[in-house]
Amino acid sequence: MPEEIYSQMMKELSEGKYVFTGELEPKKAGNVNEPIAAARDLIGLVTACNVTDNPQSFAYVNSMAASYKIQAETGMECVYQLRCSDRNRMALLSDVLGAGTLGLKNILALAGDHVALGDTPDAMSVFDLDSTTLIYMIRKIVDEGKDLAGNEIEDPPKLHVGGAAAPGAAYLKAEVAKVKRKINVGVEFLQTQVVYYTDILDKFFDELGKVDVPILVGIFPAKSYGAAKFFDEYVAGVDVPPEYLANLKKTKEVKDKEERKAEVDRVNIEFFTDFLEYLKGTPSAGCHMMAVGYPRIIGPLKKVME
């Protein structure tokens, strides 16, 4: 655990509380009204919210600007996602300093998807740094007040840096070694990619062994069959269970909109109650609920953990 605590999320994690985080997605728009409204819905339900940075390489509102606006207007603490795909080390440094200036306290350092997978495939992918070297750079900025080239930084920002882990990675041994590498360079919290299968998570925790860094396990209660199907087909390293998908598909037969919503909630509560019960017995320190556009499910699911 870090010696100095700058954010509420890290405070709760260091106190051993089981922490819930949510996820907010800025859009391709000239405003962040939608994630601000979603953040308001999540106040009191989660400790902090990740604000995505061009997810799946679809170019949206800058995540630092969105994080700042959301935090300032709603009071929701943000986990500012920052990916290496679109910026070189200079731009990343500027963004980290900018985030500190705007009062952001948590950064999730990501490599990011290749731009070829997104909506601007002709762009040049950058990857001057990777997730590990970005974590290393942020720790150097915060702890030593220096950038990668050794230049001094006046009044360095006070913030925490997290990293991602992919328990469902096809080649788990290499993924676990990479996670250990992130731990070696000073990552302060880890959030996992979405997991649906308990045996996948068991294997990941077994392979990783005991670590001092808190790990929040990612879950994705889908607000519709389409959302779950998209995750299954397009998100690397995630398999959605066919029976859960089939149950969501059945909800499409319900004609009444409100009844259909209730049925989707029932399917999610049924599936995730078992999963969250299981999570209690794992070394996880919290749960990252990627229920984008689906805040009403978080309350009922949280109850399971109480």
Binding site: F127, A170, Y171, E175, K178, G237
Partner: protein
């Protein structure tokens, strides 16, 4: 070698639109190996251009005579000086290096203002063969292979990560960007495992020093290879005999069978 393929004929004809007399120049280097600038390729190109009503002068360069080598291409361009002087365009059947070396020579040494067009697209420095090649080195000026079990992640990883793998490795260890390509970092892991050096995998590799790749890069060779050196290298007894014995040597499995008998 620099892999390459010929551009679509429509694109080439686009360059040559309105140009009546064309000098088509081949290349005895990589372009000969990839059949994009050997004598046959030059002949075929000339035939196609003649069918389009153009007057064509052919310049083929024999194996070993590369268009990117100023001394060599100078010999061939000077031999056809009249045709070069009177042409409307020059078409280089080489990589972009050959095109630019030729253009500079024609402009600065021959004192002629001529459009020099590319017939090929260069596809990178590749290794492998005889039929399948893969890009292995991007000549970045700061070789990282000593830290990555001899596999360059800057080139072989779709994202060029120095500390992979990313979270997108496919179930068959292929790359998330292209299912045809292997994940470089899974390969690096497996090779380090074989070498008993997995502890190195967990170490962070520092960000790559791109300062070594300030373009355009200039390079000076203090002791250049002259024509006589080249002849000597080609005639070197050990090289020739070594090459011949390798060509005609029995394959390992044939040797095994002989032993059994």
């Amino acid at each position: 070698m620099i892999a390459q393929e010929q551009k679509p004929m429509e694109e080439i004809l686009g360059f040559l639109d309105g140009k009546k007399n064309v000098v088509v120049v081949g290349c005895g280097g990589c372009a000969t190996f990839y059949h994009t600038g050997d004598k046959k390729a030059v002949d075929e190109m000339a035939e196609k251009l003649e069918k389009e009503g153009k007057g064509v002068t052919k310049i083929s360069m024999p194996l070993g005579m590369s268009a990117c080598d100023t001394e060599k291409i100078a010999i061939f361009l000077q031999k056809k000086r009249n045709e070069v002087e009177n042409c409307d365009a020059i078409l280089l059947m080489s990589c972009g290096d050959g095109v630019q070396v030729a253009a500079d020579y024609v402009d600065e040494e021959m004192g002629l203002a001529k459009n020099v067009y590319p017939a090929n697209d260069a596809l990178g420095l590749v290794g492998g063969g005889p039929t399948k090649f893969h890009e292995t080195c991007q000549s970045c000026g700061m070789c990282e292979l000593g830290k990555t079990a001899g596999i360059c992640p800057l080139t072989a990883c779709g994202k060029g990560l120095m500390n992979g793998p990313c979270g997108g490795v496919r179930v068959d260890d292929k790359c998330e960007i292209d299912p045809e390509k292997d994940c470089a970092w899974v390969k690096i892991y497996k090779r380090m495992e074989k070498l008993g050096e997995l502890d190195k995998f967990e170490e962070m590799r520092a960000p790559h020093e791109w300062s070594k790749m300030k373009r355009p890069r200039l390079f000076e060779l203090k002791d250049p290879m002259g024509m006589m050196d080249m002849m000597g290298a080609m005639m070197n007894y050990n090289t020739v005999s070594g090459y011949m014995s390798m060509m005609f040597a029995k394959k390992p499995e044939e040797q095994k069978e002989e032993k059994k008998e």
